[in-house]
């Protein structure tokens, strides 16, 4: 039989139903003969009754509760797990971006050599405009001369392919480029390089003329444009500013030593005579 002290220690878990069956029987045995422990057990049960009869809350709508709570929630960066649909949209977007990238990259590689009858030719024109716009002022003239040379290459190819309109367009564009470079050509930063570039233009212009003349159905429009472009080149080549360097004072003075080292300018080269006596431009000048 349990002692009085031990029984008192176990009365609370006994009242809470936490004791095993044999332990309960031993407590029951003591309480039966102990009025004090029986009275204490009644108090414990009354206390439990008080504790468990604390009433639950009356009904409370959750919607206003949530709205009030939501207003207090701190902002937290949301890391949403993409759903399958989101993954699919993401995949489509990546595929489209990859196609566009390939197209742009392909265009970027292909466009510089595109001819006027190529669908990528507009891309080439845009690239050239950007290139010219981004060129520093002291490098603008070489770019202009390169573009002029490219127009002649196009004109030659279009004339060979019997696409006279496109050839004419390229020749007109060539003349416009030369007009745009006229001011810079009077005072080039690198006269020798400019002179070499002009010689190259002359040779290519002659090539356009030959290609057009070699065709049985040579186009008069091309002939006229080639003649006009040749006149323009002649005028530029005979400018003193190209053949005789000008000493510039101040910020625009060029450190380029080449002109000063060669005080006697080379004679202006003349284009080689062609079979059909193609040096008539110099004779006309």
């Amino acid at each position: 039989m349990l002692s009085h002290a031990t029984t008192r220690d176990w009365l609370i878990p006994y009242a809470d139903g936490m004791l095993a069956a044999d332990e309960r029987r031993r407590i029951d045995g003591h309480i039966t003969g102990c009025a004090a422990c029986a009275a204490e057990l009644r108090e414990v049960r009354e206390l439990n009754l008080l504790l468990v009869t604390l009433p639950p809350a009356p009904p409370l709508a959750v919607a206003p509760f949530w709205l009030k709570l939501q207003a207090q929630l701190p902002a937290r960066r949301t890391l949403r797990i993409p759903t399958f649909a989101a993954y699919r949209r993401l995949g489509v977007a990546f595929a489209a971006a990859a196609v566009a990238l390939v197209a742009v990259a392909g265009s970027a590689f292909a466009a510089p050599s595109a001819l006027p009858d190529n669908p990528l030719y507009p891309v080439k024109q845009i690239e050239e405009q950007v290139r010219l716009a981004l060129a520093p002022s002291n490098e603008r003239l070489p770019v202009q001369l390169q573009l002029a040379n490219e127009r002649l290459r196009e004109a030659q190819a279009m004339a060979a392919n019997h696409k006279p309109r496109l050839a004419e367009n390229s020749l007109r564009a060539f003349t416009l480029i030369l007009d745009g470079a006229a001011v810079s050509l009077k005072n080039p930063a690198n006269p020798q390089a400019t002179k070499d570039a002009l010689l190259a233009l002359r040779a290519n212009l002659d090539a356009v003329e030959r290609v057009n003349a070699n065709r049985n159905d040579d186009v008069a429009g091309i002939k006229q444009l080639v003649t006009a472009a040749g006149d323009e080149l002649d005028r530029i080549e005979h400018q003193d500013s190209v053949t005789a360097p000008v000493v510039v004072v101040g910020e625009q003075a060029t450190p380029e030593p080449t002109p000063k080292a060669t005080p006697t300018p080379k004679p202006t080269p003349k284009p080689k005579p062609t079979d059909d006596g193609g040096d008539h431009r110099n004779q006309q000048h």
Binding site: M18, E43, L47, L54, P58
Partner: protein, 198 residues
């Protein structure tokens, strides 16, 4: 002992786990679902402890706010409900301590339809409940936290042990000590209640 009546059985619930993870990542819609699942449990704990609906609602808001902020650090090793009970118990015992000196019967929420139609009985019952709450609030913290889970959260010994991460024997010891102190402090009320019910 009566069980928590409103919260669904969620231990091992994969859906609840998903809601917890999404809430921890900042998904407020997922957290709203968690609140819908458990707000009744928290409100009841707070109301049993405080006896005033508006105050219980404030404490419940505080509980869920703490939960939301702490969710990124929550690990699924312990059932969410146990963790929620612990946060709620801490919040209500803090609230009990804060409001203990200013309790008045006028502040008490009048119960809805009661079985006791006699106003005298109702007032007596309210006095008893208020006294119990005050007595619990006056207990040492380790007793108070444990008895709050039993009296306000209606948890079993085993659930209290899991919620507080303490051995079952420690729960028994603490509840034993808490109830002895409560009997001492509520002595006359308990005995008069005993006499009334005898």
């Amino acid at each position: 002992m009566a069980r928590a009546e409103d919260a669904p059985s969620i231990e091992g619930d994969a859906e609840e786990r998903r809601l917890i993870d999404r809430s921890a990542a900042g998904d407020q819609e997922a957290f709203r679902q968690l609140v819908i699942r458990h707000h009744r449990l928290v409100i009841n704990v707070a109301f049993r402890a405080l006896g005033e609906l508006s105050l219980a609602e404030d404490v419940a808001q505080e509980v869920f706010l703490k939960v939301y902020k702490a969710l990124p650090g929550y690990r699924h090793e312990k059932p969410f409900k146990h963790w929620l009970h612990r946060v709620a118990a801490n919040a209500v015992t803090d609230a009990l301590r804060r409001r203990r000196p200013v309790v008045s019967l006028d502040d008490m929420e009048q119960p809805p339809a009661s079985r006791e139609s006699d106003p005298v009985d109702v007032a007596t019952r309210h006095d008893l409940q208020r006294a119990v709450r005050q007595a619990i609030a006056s207990l040492p913290s380790h007793y108070r936290d444990t008895i709050a889970l039993q009296a306000f959260g209606e948890l079993s010994y085993d659930e209290i042990a899991k919620t507080l991460d303490i051995p079952l024997g420690t729960v028994m010891s603490r509840l034993n000590g808490a109830k002895r102190l409560l009997r001492e402090r509520l002595g006359d009320l308990v005995r008069s209640e005993e006499a009334n019910t005898a």
